[in-house]
Amino acid sequence: MNRLLSYEEKDTWLHHLSGITKLIFFIVWCFTSALTYDTRVLLVMIAISAALYVMSKTEWRQVSTVFKFVMFFMVVNLVAIFLFSPYQGTEIYGTKTVLAPLFPGHAITREELFYLFNVLIKYFTVVPSVFIFMVTTDPSEFAASMNHIGIPYTGAYSVSLALRYIPDVQADYHRIRNAQEARGIEMSSKAKLTDRIRRTSSIIFPLLFSAMEHIDVVSNAMELRGFGKKKRRTWYAYRKMKRADVAVLILTAVFSAAALVITFADGNRFWNPWV
């Protein structure tokens, strides 16, 4: 069973960065991408994202499912924009160049197509950075750095604890579902939807009970080894901020500032190629 977007240990400089650096980069990057509609800036961001993606040695199988899912939403998003506001592009760029009249009230315009193109490339600036963050960040190290920037360790630890036990719960779920199906409690698509909803109780309750047993053991085991004893704790997986981290943070700030300056130089978020 391979989990979606899970961390995999590899030897690249991106893996060696601190989780916090990657988180800050990720937030600033998304923020910049959300603000700008400047096609030049977006294209540069795509180029950087693509380069980082290649350098992270992320394999297609790690991300393919999620990627397809995002692509599906992107298409829905683009179609919806076109259907509900076909002249959004005209409003933004102030001209109206009809390429093909579709039906009354909906014509394909050059401006709308350009606007949609901008929305599309925005997706491609953000998606790789999400992937890189998820597959190159060791959850334990991330919890450690969260704790170091002031998040209480009980909260920070719960993330890695969840990651630790999710696969166990998944395995339990499969086991219980199979056994109940053999008893005749069909949960596959062959059964009617209403029946399936009603029958989920026959999986949920056993799953809940075994999860409670789990929790009992885990909380005892943690207490017996002193979790929560002190106000502070150290982390085996903690990595100090290194020069590379500082460099990445500075470059991120510089790039983001430059991107915003270029974007807003002409007074709005858009870049108009026809002026």
Partner: protein, 601 residues
């Protein structure tokens, strides 16, 4: 020398209970000793352990009286955290107690919580990884480890704290026999090298005695009933009287009518002096008979050249073929990950084989869906909690019929019939939550039986059960086998189960069928036992030492003898209880259930 653990007239009563779980305990354990505490389920042995590490009364509230000193302090005052510096506890759930995302982090967990500087932490983790021999696995995640390896990590995880006492709560419960043996050896090595006192809570006495222990303490009904050197204790009948299984070779010598002398060192079969007993054992052997095992019934299940893999590079099962006749009781054995559960999943149709055929009564079942197979082959999971989803017993048992659209009056009739067979009829209107573990197990079996399957597959039917409950569950299955002609397949680690209750053992090792033979022959064959991570039975050593040239026949005769005695209701004094669960026991079990429940509240 002063004792490191000292109970003086100590009693403990859980808040939720009427009676004390421990009463007037007097026990001294000295530094460097290795002690085995044993007794039947619910006898109070785990309660005793939890008093040492302060889980009682700090996490599970209750009342104490008398005095308890551990390493010079009172656990109750010190609290769970304080005691964790002195007492390292290894719980029985090897997976559940693995907290870190990797081996290294789990080993470091206690150090992290103690805010140990990182470089010191690295050093200590490396040191304990060395002690428990997990150095090459530091970056592994728990899912990539076997049960035995996880247990090594648990041991390391408490050793990093430089504890003085190591407390093992049923360390053998989830392990295959060979891994269990390695665990006992490792505990012994640590005890010798690291200057710690070791307390092992376990009802599998023979397996713990693979290495020397200094004393065995027997607890029954909240009291200490024996506390003696193993050599002396094994000569008495205190184990069998309290419902704990004696080492098989000791039982065999006693069956032969011998009184064992402590001077002959019965602690290990390898070093026991058998000379005084050989004649009697031979004489006894001559009086026993070999069971007749002839079954010419048609085949119920035939598996032909079955292969399966999730990933073509790593086959899980390769070319498995075997046949099981109607009415047989068969065990499927082998180490963890040998493919036993996968085999069951293929038979039940959860997965599709890459090649090969499965025939039920001579008919290929590949076109049948999971649900259709489920009507003819029932699966009972290891823990009844994993199957039970309805609050009331009758409802739970009838669920499989209800979803199949069987009319209400027929459901009621069939449910009642099944409950009668399972001895649950008087409780049919009870909520499931009021039942003991053994009764819940029967409910989960009843909910499968109600569908009238021809074959029933049980996954570890006796895991974690003490001798009394083991006997109860197994005698019940045997009754179903004999009275209903049900074919029963059991996936198990338990060598006693395969010896005592199955006609045949299908042995898997690394995805291949290693052998398909009588359990006695499997467990007297060293190379088969080794490859399948089983442990050859001590009866084999006894037979060899007494000069029998067919050890497997000796084993078979021994089992047959025990069988006769059990059927006559005279063995271990608990034969009569079987089947009819008596009230007192049900109550006791319920108390045990509440002990656990009380902890969550």
């Amino acid at each position: 020398m002063d004792p490191i653990i000292s109970f003086k007239d100590f009693s403990f009563q859980y808040r939720s209970q009427q009676e004390p779980s421990l009463s007037h305990i007097n026990l001294n354990i000295y530094p460097g000793e290795k002690i085995l505490i044993t007794g039947p389920s619910g006898c109070g042995k785990s309660t005793l352990a939890h008093c040492i590490n302060a889980l009682n009364p700090c996490s599970f509230s209750g009342k104490t009286s008398g005095s308890l000193l551990v390493d010079g302090v009172v656990p109750e005052k010190e609290g769970v955290f304080g005691m964790s510096k002195r007492v390292g506890t290894v719980l029985q759930d090897t997976n559940g107690q693995f907290i870190g995302l990797t081996v290294a982090e789990d080993l470091a967990f206690a150090l992290e919580n103690d805010a140990t500087p990182q470089d010191e932490m690295f050093r200590k983790v490396d040191r304990v990884a060395d002690i428990v021999d997990m150095k090459h696995f530091l970056r592994h995640s728990p899912s990539a480890l076997s049960g035995g390896q996880k247990q090594r990590v648990s041991m390391g995880g408490v050793l990093v704290d430089d504890v003085k006492i190591l407390l093992f709560d049923e360390p053998l419960a989830n392990l295959d026999p060979a891994t269990g043996k390695n665990t006992i050896a490792l505990i012994d090595d640590i005890c010798r090298r690291e200057d710690v006192t070791v307390v092992i809570i376990e009802h599998r006495v023979e397996d713990v005695l693979y290495r020397d222990v200094d004393r065995i303490v027997v607890v029954d009904d909240g009291k200490i009933v024996a506390d003696d050197h193993p050599d002396r204790l094994l000569c008495t009948d205190v184990l069998s009287r309290t419902g704990v299984r004696e080492p098989l070779y000791v039982t065999a010598v006693k069956h032969a009518g011998c009184t064992i002398d402590p001077a002959d060192h019965p602690q290990h079969i390898e070093s026991m002096n058998l000379a005084p007993y050989q004649d009697k054992i031979r004489a006894w052997f001559a009086t026993t008979t070999l069971p007749v095992r002839e079954n010419h019934a048609p085949y119920a299940l035939e598996v032909e050249n079955l292969s399966f893999a999730y990933d073509p590079e790593e086959p899980v099962l390769q070319n498995i073929s075997f046949r099981i006749r109607k009415g047989e009781m068969v065990s499927v054995v082998g180490k963890n990950g040998a493919g036993k559960s996968t085999l069951a999943s293929l038979i039940l149709g959860f997965y599709q084989p890459q090649s090969g055929k499965i025939l039920l009564n001579g008919e290929d079942i590949s076109p049948l869906s999971v649900r259709e197979r489920g009507e003819r082959i029932g699966l009972v999971m290891q823990s009844p909690e994993q199957m039970i989803s309805k609050p009331m017993i009758a409802e739970e048992v009838g669920l499989g019929l209800q979803v199949r659209g069987v009319p209400a009056d027929e459901i009621e009739r069939r449910v009642n019939d099944t409950l009668r067979i399972c001895g649950l009829y008087p409780m049919r209107h009870w909520p499931v939550s009021a039942l003991s573990f053994g009764q819940k197990k029967r409910v989960s079996i009843a909910s499968i039986l109600v569908l009238n399957p021809e074959i029933i597959i049980l996954d570890e039917p006796t895991a974690g059960q003490d001798f009394r409950h083991y006997t109860e569950i197994m005698e019940f299955l045997r009754k179903l086998n004999r009275e209903l002609g049900l074919t029963i397949i059991m996936i198990t680690h338990d060598m006693h189960l395969m010896l005592e209750y199955t006609d045949r053992a299908i042995v898997l090792a690394d995805g291949q069928l290693l052998t398909d033979d009588t359990p006695a022959r499997v467990l007297t064959n060293e190379s088969v036992s080794d490859r399948a991570y089983l442990k050859k039975t001590s009866l084999y050593d006894l037979a060899v030492k007494c000069g029998f040239d067919r050890p497997d026949e000796f084993v078979d005769r021994f089992i047959a003898f025990e069988r006769e005695q059990r059927d006559a209701g005279i063995l271990h004094g608990n034969g009569a209880e079987i089947g009819a669960f008596n009230g007192a026991e049900a109550r006791r079990e319920k108390d045990t259930a509440e002990e656990t429940a009380g902890g969550i509240a």
